[in-house]
């Protein structure tokens, strides 16, 4: 019965999709509106208009920076959501306490030993990974890369390090205010850049146009990239620690 319902729903959705998709402009057609309308202007204008040779970064941080702001808020919302859902319930008055708290299990759990090979490789490569991630963050407007990519790499590295160091209690105790501040780095960066934009050019999230504000524009873009990267890494680590049960 469920299968039948699923098949009907899938067909009801899939057949109109096929019919609709057939009449779209041919894939790769150079004359399609996708290439002749807004995108043509973006490609023609860069890098003078945006200061970014990587036009995708130009779109993300300049033309459609507001979208990127929304996206950064969504990652933060994910962290808030996960912590809201998984934090222990024990202290609430009147809540049934019949289920064991997962975090207590986690604390008493014996972490499996980390192989010395893994520890060695991780210690060896960590500095290179960090260097590469930072380079990707800061050069994202010239080559493929950017804040998200660099942040994801650092976040993944931090997760690996937390697994490796946790067993020997070498994982550093970071004050909570600093953690929360780092997690809010991306929205904060956007807020700052938005205000500066208003001050300099009279529009929110506007980066000053070349050639007068060239250096300042690059600085503002780097601020955004760094904020996105640091914030993203902190949030990814926070998500992992929350779901693992810390």
């Amino acid at each position: 019965m469920n299968r039948l319902l699923a098949s009907l729903a899938t067909a009801a959705v899939g057949i109109p999709m096929l019919a609709g998709v057939a009449q779209l402009p041919r894939v790769g057609a150079p004359g399609a509106p996708v290439h002749t309308h807004v995108a043509a202007q973006y490609l023609a204008g860069s890098p003078d208009a945006t200061g970014a040779e990587n036009v995708v970064t130009g779109v993300l941080l300049n033309y459609r920076a507001f979208d990127t702001f929304g996206e950064v808020m969504i990652i933060f919302a994910a962290l808030a959501a996960v912590l809201a859902v998984l934090s222990p319930v024990a202290e609430a008055i009147g809540m049934p306490k019949d289920q064991p708290s997962g975090t207590e299990h986690a604390r008493h759990r014996r972490a499996p030993p980390v192989s010395p090979i893994v520890a060695f490789v991780l210690r060896l490569t960590a500095p290179f990974i960090i260097a590469f991630a930072v380079w990707m963050m800061l050069k994202g407007h010239l080559t493929p890369g950017g804040g998200f990519q660099g942040g994801a790499m650092i976040g993944a590295l931090l997760i690996l390090l937390s697994i490796m160091l946790e067993r020997d209690n070498l994982w550093p105790r970071v004050p909570e205010r600093l953690v929360r501040g780092l997690q809010a780095a991306a929205p904060l960066a956007f807020g700052v850049v938005a205000l500066v934009g208003v001050g300099l050019t009279g529009a929110v999230l506007a980066l000053p146009a070349s050639p007068a504000g060239h250096g300042l524009r690059e600085l503002m873009m780097l601020t955004l990239e760094a904020g996105i990267g640091i914030g993203g890494a902190a949030i990814i680590l926070g998500l992992f620690l929350a779901i693992r049960g810390d």
Partner: protein
């Protein structure tokens, strides 16, 4: 029919979307439903990026020695943003699954329906 052949990439994305949708509705296990959702999301991202492709096009990096034609940068930006959104939703979904498992010790939808 010809039109479907020219837009085969789109057709593939649609088929993938349908596989994902079927999985979300038909599968019993909550994690499998979540995977179906991820398949749907991937299908949509593939579709959107493909709309930006151009015959013989290069990545939209307009450095000094780059030659047109370039792929459209907007779909790339859309998908980058979309991936982050999808990851956020998946993270929340997984934590909800953890919470459900802690409460009910099962992840099968039919068993969970009995409990309600």
């Amino acid at each position: 029919m010809d039109a479907l052949w020219w837009n085969l990439d789109y057709v593939a994305a649609v088929i993938l979307f349908c596989i994902g949708l079927y999985t979300v509705v038909a599968r019993n296990n909550l994690i499998k439903k979540l995977l179906g959702l991820n398949i749907m999301e991937t299908a949509v991202f593939a579709f959107i990026v493909t709309t930006g492709s151009v015959d013989g096009g290069a990545a939209p990096l307009v450095g000094a020695d780059a030659l047109p034609p370039f792929a459209s940068p907007v779909p790339h930006a859309m998908v980058l943003t979309g991936i982050v959104v999808a990851v956020s939703v998946t993270a929340l979904a997984l934590s909800l699954i953890v919470a459900v498992y802690r409460d009910h010790r099962t992840l099968e939808a039919d068993e969970l329906r009995e409990i309600d």
